[in-house]
């Protein structure tokens, strides 16, 4: 509790929002997420470029997608955005137990999504012999969804860290509350990128003719 008070006094001594009227760290996170559009845009474009380009050996991702399975995964990730925003809401109401519960639920849903991705990759590699180097379409698919999965994994680690800090210190200080908000922004961003991937990569992909 003493640590929380000390941190709160530090925040008053060093206000973090400058001329923009927005907390610097928050502005930084929004700018980072904005730049991530370019990153994922490149990977999605790469997939679109090769996904139905015929003439390469091996099976193409669009021939073996398991849409019901991926739909459930998408639903899980979408619902993790709900639990994330509920965690943030609980934090703003100083509801320590609520914050912890929803943070853990978000991390759990993120882990389920990651488990689904590992299962999907294993299925593709073992049952369909579609490896990273099988053809450009497979390569583009693994790189895109793999990088997205990496983002989810980083998010899960950050969520569990906040959950651990909250358990250890009996709650989150104002500064850590802002961290929760920033992790939340990151998490929702990962979700919106999956919304695009699910539609463009899974639902709209057509096998090569």
């Amino acid at each position: 509790m003493t640590e929380l008070t000390h941190e709160a006094s530090l925040e008053h001594a060093h206000p973090e929002h400058e001329g923009t009227g927005v907390e610097n760290r928050k502005l930084g996170m929004w700018l980072f997420l904005s730049s991530e559009f370019l990153f994922f845009g490149a990977l999605i474009s790469n997939y679109l470029l090769y996904s139905n380009r015929a003439g390469f050996p091996g099976v193409y991702p669009s021939e073996i997608y398991d849409i019901p399975f991926t739909s459930v995964s998408s639903f899980v990730l979408l619902m993790s955005s709900l639990t994330m925003v509920l965690a943030h809401n609980a934090q703003t109401r100083q509801d320590v137990n609520g914050t912890r519960t929803w943070l853990f639920a978000t991390a759990a849903l993120g882990s389920i999504f990651l488990g689904g991705q590992v299962f999907e990759f294993t299925e593709f590699i073992v049952n369909f012999d579609m490896k990273l180097s099988t053809n450009p379409a497979a390569s583009a698919f693994y790189v895109l969804t793999g990088f997205h999965g990496t983002h989810v994994a980083i998010g899960v680690i950050m969520l569990l860290s906040l959950w651990g800090i909250s358990r250890r210190r009996g709650g989150l200080s104002d500064r850590q509350g802002l961290n929760l908000e920033l992790v939340g922004l990151y998490w929702h961003f990962v979700d919106i990128i999956w919304i695009v991937i699910f539609t463009v990569v899974y639902l709209l992909s057509v096998p090569p003719v």
Partner: protein
Amino acid sequence: MSTPEHIHHPSPAQYWKIAVVLAVLTAVEVAIYYIHRDFDLGHFNTVLLLLLAALKFVIVIGWYMHLRFERSTLSRFFTGGFILASALYTIVLTALGVIAIRGG
């Protein structure tokens, strides 16, 4: 600190309602995918699925990321990045013939 975010944030009940809307939109997307597989909706399939994805995208950004309640500075930075990336890759994919091929 009386920033707009502290005044207008939705309640937990509203967040649940938004989640239901997102789940329904996802179910509709999947339904359209299967309808198209059996009855070939043509270009209508692509347009519908992209519109539904855009709707989900805007709902998550607006309500869950609270962008509609934030200062316009953040909105401008974020939408600026999105528009820049979208324009860049649309031009690239058009130049490479991907968009025309997929549309045809």
